[in-house]
């Protein structure tokens, strides 16, 4: 197990390096003169020269890459072209907002998805099963930005139940401590504000949860069906144990590995989906940060935003890989 963990950790190195190369090349692979592209056609030659110098674009490529790598490793994520702020100093609130949103979405996806899958498998070929699977099919086929727009239209505009945009009200009195607003409101004892934050969170979280929820439901159903047909479940049934007990106690435990895999993979989908969801709901996460940067051609921010998201994805998968070993002792590591 330890040897495997170390091996897995070492395998991260080339992936992380490759990731930095790809992110690095976002600026450098732009055809023509990157500085010109970034500043637009009306830029003065001095401005282009200045930008070239500040981004180090006038040096040889490999020098630029190693400078970039050194910067990233020392926590220097560059400077935003829009407002000249150090990206490293302003990225955390965005990151926190995305973590809060993704976490909420994953929670919804897992709770509903796993339970729907179990019930579907348990009541195979019943009406419940059919409905759940049709809903799941629509779920995986849904453009989440469209779902988000409909949510806003129905629940904010028509019914006026939930706020349509942002992470808090304008009148919010939450003072950021961790920047995870749910945590902050609780730390500050502002329970009314906590509810306000939850209300903002519901719609984007549901939109973001849809696809993973559907995939988790389908996956849970098929792995549960496999387990439910196995001999030891039949034995348990024969011994007269209650079916509900059997399903949740025995079967779920064994169906957990494939489910865990899906959850690991879905995190990527979710972090990607965050860009669309955050754009629609004005959620000030890292997705919106990148989206705004794209609109403003703020390449350093685009680079760093993508770098951070990819890094998070890699780390989540790394942790999921290690969890396999803890959950299933049968898994052998090469």
């Amino acid at each position: 197990m330890l040897s495997y963990s170390i091996k897995r950790l070492l395998m991260l190195v080339p992936v992380l390096l490759g990731m930095t190369i790809i992110v690095f090349s976002i600026i450098h692979a732009i055809p023509g003169n990157p500085a010109q592209t970034i500043l637009g056609t009306k830029a003065t030659p001095e401005a282009i020269h200045h930008l070239n110098a500040s981004l180090g674009l006038d040096k040889p490529l490999y020098v630029q890459y190693f400078t970039y790598l050194k910067d990233v490793l020392t926590g220097n994520l560059g400077t935003s072209i829009q407002d000249n702020n150090a990206i490293a100093s302003e990225i955390w609130p965005h990151l926190a907002a995305t973590i809060e949103l993704s976490f909420a979405a994953m929670l919804i996806a897992v709770i509903i998805g796993v339970n729907a899958g179990i019930i579907s498998a348990w009541k195979k070929n019943s009406v419940v099963d059919y409905i759940a699977m049709i809903v799941a099919l629509i779920g995986v086929s849904m453009p989440i930005f469209w779902l988000g727009l409909l949510e806003q239209w129905i629940f904010s505009v028509k019914l006026n139940w939930l706020p349509s945009i942002g992470q808090t009200d304008i009148t919010s009195t939450v003072a950021p401590i961790t920047n995870l607003y749910l945590v902050d409101t609780l730390l500050e004892g502002q329970f009314g504000q906590f509810w306000m934050v939850v209300r903002h969170l519901i719609m984007p979280a549901v939109a973001l949860a849809t696809i993973p929820m559907a995939i988790i439901a389908r996956m849970t159903r098929s792995s549960m069906l496999e387990v439910l047909g196995s001999d030891y479940i039949r034995t348990a049934k024969a011994k007269g144990q209650r079916m509900g007990w059997i399903v949740y106690k025995y079967a779920l435990k064994n169906a957990f590995i494939p489910i865990l895999t899906v959850i690991g993979l879905q995190t990527g989908l979710m972090l990607g989906g965050a860009i669309l969801t955050e754009t629609i709901f004005g959620w000030p996460g890292i997705g919106l940060y990148v989206y705004n940067a794209i609109q403003a051609r703020d390449y350093p921010v685009i680079q760093s935003g993508i770098l951070i998201i990819a890094f998070m994805f890699i780390m989540v998968n790394f942790i999921v890989d290690l969890l396999y070993g803890l959950i299933d002792p049968r898994i052998k590591y090469r």
Partner: protein, 322 residues
């Protein structure tokens, strides 16, 4: 003495076992450890041993399907281990192989005709018309019918599939055929049919066989000479008549005693070997067979015996035989 076709000298195949974070070689598996033998034109050499003794690996190394770690394979006077890829392809025309599993060795998506024709395409023999005529001829030769060419492998029985495999091997008119347990996957009733076919073909086409098997009874009638392998080494090699009449090596004796003899008068005692075949990663010291040998002496666990020629021309590797 007839003409020498193949001379295998000190052939070795070692597999490193890699472990840990840095893939350090922890130990080596000596799958084949210094095997030597000669094959003359027109004869059949049987190679017999339990599974895992390295007999199939030896066969595959002769064709360089597995690259040997060390040794020489001299075919018609040239060491084929030194040949370039390109030169090797020419030699492959002269050496063909028949495989053990008649279900796995035929591509399920090709017709029988395509399967048999393919070696001729690869070696650029004849035009399409000639090749297809040859396919028909080969099918008849191995006891199938010309119209079978359009069928797919799954439409045939195991024995018929093995005939297809034989036809494929014959397509390029090889000089040497390595038959790697060609009948062990077949029903006993079909085994003798395929063995008879192989013998008929040998007479008709003047073929040379290396016939690999895990059981002595199968090779008895087809082989001129038989080599017995144990744990990557050749332990005895002799004319089949000599070997079957009077096996010298205790391992050969044990194997032979396991062959059922349909004669109630025969009271030969069965020698039951104790224990399992040791792992080739940890071969016993001295004679590799000593820990299972019913007659082992002290010297057997200390010194490695070498293959020696006895007065009657046979080769044996045992301290206790003279």
């Amino acid at each position: 003495m007839s003409e020498l076709l193949l001379d295998v000298a000190n052939l070795k195949k070692y597999y490193p076992i890699k472990q840990g974070v840095f893939n350090k070689t922890k130990e080596t598996v000596r799958a084949v450890d210094g095997v030597s033998f000669k094959v003359n034109k027109g004869e059949t050499l049987g190679i017999v041993g339990e599974s895992g003794c390295g007999k199939s690996t030896t066969g595959r190394m002769i064709m360089r399907l597995i690259e040997p770690t060390d040794g020489k394979v001299i075919f018609e006077g040239q060491d084929i281990l030194n040949l370039s890829k390109h030169e090797m392809r020419k030699v492959r025309k002269d050496i063909q192989m028949i495989f053990q599993d008649p279900f796995a060795s035929l591509n399920p998506r090709q017709t029988v005709g395509q399967i048999i024709e393919e070696p001729m395409i690869v070696h650029k023999m004849g035009d399409r018309k000639k090749r297809q005529a040859r396919v028909q001829e080969l099918l008849e030769l191995v006891g199938l019918s010309a119209y079978h060419a359009k069928r797919y492998p799954h439409q045939f029985s195991g024995g018929q599939r093995q005939r297809i495999g034989i036809a494929r091997a014959l397509a390029v008119e090889p000089k040497l055929i390595i038959a790697d347990e060609p009948v062990s996957a077949l029903d006993v009733s079909v085994q003798s049919q395929v063995l008879n076919l192989l013998q008929d073909l040998q007479k008709k086409l003047n073929l040379t066989y290396i016939f690999i098997a895990h059981d002595l009874s199968v090779v008895r009638h087809i082989s001129n000479r038989v080599g017995v392998m144990y744990l990557g080494k050749m332990v005895e090699l002799a004319d089949s008549e000599t070997l079957y009449r009077e096996p010298k090596h205790p391992y050969t004796q044990a194997l032979l005693s396991a062959v059922p003899i349909p004669d109630p008068e025969n009271k030969t005692k069965r020698i039951i070997l104790s224990g399992d075949v040791p792992s080739p990663a940890h071969p016993p010291s001295g004679c590799p067979f000593h820990d299972r040998c019913p007659v082992a002496k002290a010297i057997c666990s200390e010194e490695i015996p070498h293959l020696r020629e006895l007065a009657d021309g046979r080769l044996v590797s045992c301290h206790l035989v003279d």
